[in-house]
C-alpha cells in the first residue's frame, strides 16, 4: 500500500465547505438510533467552534427512505426538498447542512438534476407555489455534517482531551472508516476524497491520533440498503452484507469503526449482536465485538465529553473496550442510571426559533 497514491486522489477531491452560518436539517432516524449524536454535533459547533447553526422545527423528512424504497415518486420528493429550501431561504440562510447521508445524497442528486434539466426545477417551483405559496433559493453551499467536522478537525484536535491512542501501548488505535453509500458513490466530486478512497472520516481519524485500516470489503454496503431491510424477506441479505464486512476486516484487528451515515452504525452495531446470537461469532479482540461510533460521538469522546451524555449506552455492541484503551475517565455504574439528568453543563439552545 502506497499512501502517496491515496494522497494524490484525496487532493483531487476537495470540496468547498462553508465556514459558518449553517441551516441544519436533522435526520429522521438518527435520534432513535444514536440519540446523542446530533446533540453532540450542535454542542461542538456552537460551544466549541462558535459557529452559527440554525434549526427550524418545521423542516420535515426529505423523503429519502421513501424515495429509495420506490414508495415516494421523485417529483413529490423534489417538491418536499424544495419546501426545505424555502424554509432555509425564509430563515435567511444559504448553507445547507444535512445530518443524514441519504438526505445529503438526495439534495445533491436533485440539485444536479435541476442543473441539467432546468425545466424540472421550474415545474417543481410551480408545484411548491401552488401547494404552499412558498418560493425558494437553492443553497449556495451544501455540505454534510461530517464534511463540516472534517473541515474543523484540526480545531477539534487542538481542544482535544484524548487522542485515539492506546494508552498502554502508545500505538494508534486501528480504525475502520465506513462511509455511507449516498455520501459520494453517486457524485464522487461532492465528497471529500471521492468515492473510492473517501477521506472525510479518515482525515478526522488521522488528525485525532488513530490509524485507518484499508480492508478488502471497505466499499461494501453495511447491509442497511433500504429495500434490503424494509422488506422483511430481504433481511437475511442485510445481515449477510454486514457479516461480509466483519469477516473481511477481522484479520486487521480493528479497535473500532467510525461511520457517517444514520443506518450504517445501527446495522453494524445491531447485526454484530445478531451474528453472535446466530453463530456465536464475535469479531473484536478478546472475544468482544467491534465498537461502532458515529463521527460526532468520536469527536465528543476526543473532546472529553462523558460517554453516557453522548448516548453510548444505547449501543448494542459495548463501547467500553475503546474507552478503556484510550483511558477515558468514565463511571461504569452510571451507564444505565436514569436518575442522572443527561445534559451538557452549558445551556445549548437546540431549537433556535
Amino acid at each position: 500500500m502506497r499512501i502517496e497514491g491515496k494522497k494524490a486522489i484525496w487532493n483531487e477531491y476537495q470540496k468547498e465547505i462553508a465556514d459558518d452560518n449553517y441551516f441544519y436539517v436533522r435526520s429522521c432516524v438518527r435520534q432513535n438510533f444514536f440519540p446523542g449524536s446530533e446533540t453532540a454535533f450542535l454542542k461542538i459547533m456552537r460551544s466549541e467552534l462558535n459557529k452559527d447553526v440554525y434549526e427550524h422545527p418545521c423542516h420535515t423528512s426529505c423523503t429519502g427512505i421513501g424515495y429509495h424504497s420506490d414508495i415516494v415518486p421523485v417529483e413529490t420528493t423534489m417538491t418536499v426538498v424544495a419546501r426545505q429550501f424555502s424554509i432555509m431561504t425564509e430563515a435567511g440562510y444559504e448553507n445547507l447542512l444535512p445530518s443524514c447521508i441519504t438526505s445529503f445524497g438526495l439534495y445533491t442528486e436533485i440539485l444536479d438534476t435541476w442543473h441539467h434539466f432546468p425545466e424540472i426545477e421550474k415545474k417543481v417551483r410551480r408545484q411548491l407555489k401552488k401547494a404552499t405559496g412558498r418560493e425558494f433559493e437553492k443553497p449556495k453551499n451544501l455540505a454534510h455534517a461530517s464534511d463540516v467536522i472534517y473541515k474543523f478537525r484540526k480545531e477539534i484536535a487542538a481542544k482535544a482531551k484524548y487522542k485515539l491512542i492506546n494508552k498502554n501501548t502508545g500505538e494508534p488505535l486501528k480504525v475502520v472508516d465506513h462511509i455511507g453509500c449516498h455520501y459520494s458513490k453517486m457524485f464522487p466530486s461532492k465528497g471529500v476524497g471521492g468515492a473510492e478512497y473517501p477521506y472525510v472520516l479518515a482525515g478526522m481519524i488521522e488528525e485525532w491520533g488513530g490509524e485507518i485500516i484499508d480492508y478488502p470489503e471497505r466499499r461494501h454496503c453495511c447491509g442497511f440498503g433500504f429495500r434490503q431491510y424494509l422488506v422483511q424477506a430481504n433481511r437475511g441479505y442485510s445481515v449477510a452484507c454486514s457479516k461480509e464486512k466483519f469477516e473481511s476486516m477481522k484479520p486487521f484487528k480493528p479497535d473500532m469503526i467510525i461511520t457517517n451515515c444514520p443506518g450504517c452504525p445501527m446495522f453494524l452495531d445491531r447485526w454484530q449482536y445478531v451474528i453472535n446470537e446466530m453463530e456465536g461469532k464475535r469479531y473484536g479482540q478478546n472475544g468482544e465485538g467491534i465498537p461502532i461510533f458515529t463521527y460526532e460521538e468520536v469527536a465528543g469522546l476526543v473532546l472529553g465529553y462523558d460517554p453516557w451524555d453522548l448516548g453510548l449506552q444505547m449501543h448494542q455492541t459495548n463501547c467500553e473496550p475503546v474507552l478503556d484503551k484510550i483511558g477515558i475517565d468514565y463511571c461504569p455504574e452510571d451507564k444505565y442510571n436514569l436518575e442522572i439528568k443527561r445534559s451538557y453543563s452549558e445551556k445549548t439552545n437546540l431549537i433556535n426559533v
Binding site: 494524490a8 484499508d214 480492508y215 466499499r219
Partner: protein, 342 residues
C-alpha cells in the same frame, strides 16, 4: 531550392516520415520532446503478433533516418506555430525559429493514466501494474512482485480507459486485447507454473494473425479468458489483491485472489498533440485525436493547408498501420510541395 518540412514527433510515424522525405530529397527537421527518438517503442520489449523484438523495428527506423542529413532536435518542443502566407513559422522552447514549407504532425499518443480508474488502485496497491510496466519487467528479465517473489496468479484487465464512458473515452484503443494476449503468453513462457486470467468485455482480434495468437494463448498456454469487467480491486492483509468481477458468460459474480494485476492502459491523444492543436488551430474529433479532413481518402490531411498528420495522433493504430500511414503522409506532402498549393 530544396523544400523544408518540419516533422513534430520522433516516434515511429515521425521517424518513418522523416526518413522517407529525406530519401526524396526534402530537407527535414525532426522535433522530438524527449532526449531520444523512438517514442513508445523504446518502452516495449516484444511486439505482437509475432513477438519480434521492438529493437528490430527501432533498428529499421534508425537506418531510415541516420546519415540522411535530417536535422534532429531532441529535448525540443514547439511553443508557437503560425502560418505566414507561403510558409510556417515554428518557435521552439529554446527560442529558435523553424521556417517550413509544410508541417507533419506525428505527436502520437499518451497511454491512459491508469490511476484515473481509481477502483483498480494503480499507484496505491503494490502489485497493480500497467502493460507498460510489465514490458519493463520483460526487458529486465524478471517478472516479480514488489517483494521480489514471482507471482503465481496474475490477472489482466482489458479496456482500462477505453470504451469507457466514465473515463470519457468511448472509442476502442484497438491494440490492448492483442497486447494482453501477447503478454499473457509471455508470462506463461517465463513463469510456467503461473496462472493467467484475462478479463475482457469483447475480444477484438481484428489484425492479421491476432486470432491465431488468441487461439495459441488458450490452447498452448492455458490462459483463461473471463468475459466481465472487473469492478474493484483491494489489498488483503497478506498483500494479495482481491478482485470482484462478474463472469457474464457464467452469469454470476466472482471474487478472486491474485498476486498481480496488469492494467491494459488504452491510448489517448497526447498532451503534446493537444498543445499543437490549440496553437495551430487544428481540428480535433470527439475522441480528442486530430480530425482528418476525410476518413476514407484524406486521413493524413488537416483543416490547414500544408499541415499533415501521420500515425497515432489521429487514432489508435498498430506499428504496421502507423508506418503505412506515415508513408501516405509523405505522398500527400510531396504532392502538396510539387503543386505549390500554399
Amino acid at each position: 531550392m530544396s523544400k523544408h518540412v518540419v516533422v513534430i514527433g520522433g516516434g515511429v510515424a515521425g521517424l518513418e516520415v522523416a526518413g522517407q522525405l529525406s530519401k526524396a530529397g526534402i530537407e527535414v527537421s525532426l522535433v522530438e520532446k524527449e532526449s531520444k527518438t523512438g517514442g513508445h517503442l523504446n518502452k516495449w520489449y516484444r511486439l505482437f503478433p509475432d513477438r519480434r523484438y521492438s529493437s528490430e523495428v527501432m533498428d529499421y527506423l534508425d537506418g531510415m533516418t541516420q546519415n540522411r542529413g535530417i536535422k534532429l532536435l531532441t529535448d525540443t518542443t514547439i511553443e508557437s506555430f503560425n502560418r505566414n502566407r507561403s510558409h510556417f513559422s515554428l518557435i521552439t522552447n529554446e527560442g529558435k525559429e523553424l521556417i517550413a514549407d509544410a508541417v507533419i504532425v506525428a505527436t502520437g499518443f499518451d497511454l491512459f493514466k491508469s490511476a484515473r480508474k481509481e477502483e483498480y488502485g494503480y499507484g496505491i496497491y503494490d502489485n497493480v501494474i500497467t502493460s507498460a510496466d510489465l514490458e519493463d519487467m520483460f526487458r529486465n528479465g524478471k517478472i516479480s512482485l514488489t517483494d521480489g517473489i514471482s507471482p503465481e496468479a496474475i490477472g489482466i484487465i482489458h479496456c482500462v480507459g477505453s470504451r469507457d464512458e466514465k473515463a470519457g473515452n468511448f472509442y476502442c484503443s484497438k491494440l490492448c486485447c492483442v497486447t494482453a494476449v501477447k503478454q499473457a503468453i509471455e508470462i506463461r513462457e517465463k513463469l510456467p507454473e503461473s496462472k493467467v486470467f484475462c478479463f475482457y468485455m469483447d475480444m477484438r482480434m481484428g489484425g492479421a494473425f491476432y486470432e491465431e495468437l488468441y487461439r495459441e494463448a488458450q490452447e498452448k498456454w492455458g490462459v483463461s479468458f473471463i468475459r466481465g469487467k472487473v469492478s474493484e480491486a483491494s489489498e488483503t492483509i497478506d498483500n494479495k489483491l482481491l478482485i470482484k468481477v462478474e463472469d457474464t458468460l457464467a452469469g454470476r459474480p466472482l471474487k478472486m485472489k491474485l498476486d498481480m494485476l496488469v492494467l491494459m492502459a488504452g491510448m489517448e491523444m497526447s498532451a503534446g498533440g493537444k498543445k499543437i492543436a490549440g496553437m495551430g488551430g487544428l481540428n480535433t474529433g470527439e475522441n480528442r485525436f486530430f480530425a482528418a479532413a476525410d476518413n476514407h481518402f484524406g486521413s493524413n490531411v488537416s483543416n490547414i493547408k500544408g499541415v499533415f498528420y501521420a500515425g497515432t495522433c489521429t487514432a489508435p493504430m498498430n506499428i504496421t498501420e502507423t508506418i503505412s500511414h506515415a508513408r501516405s503522409a509523405v505522398t500527400e506532402v510531396m504532392d502538396y510541395l510539387k503543386d505549390g498549393e500554399k
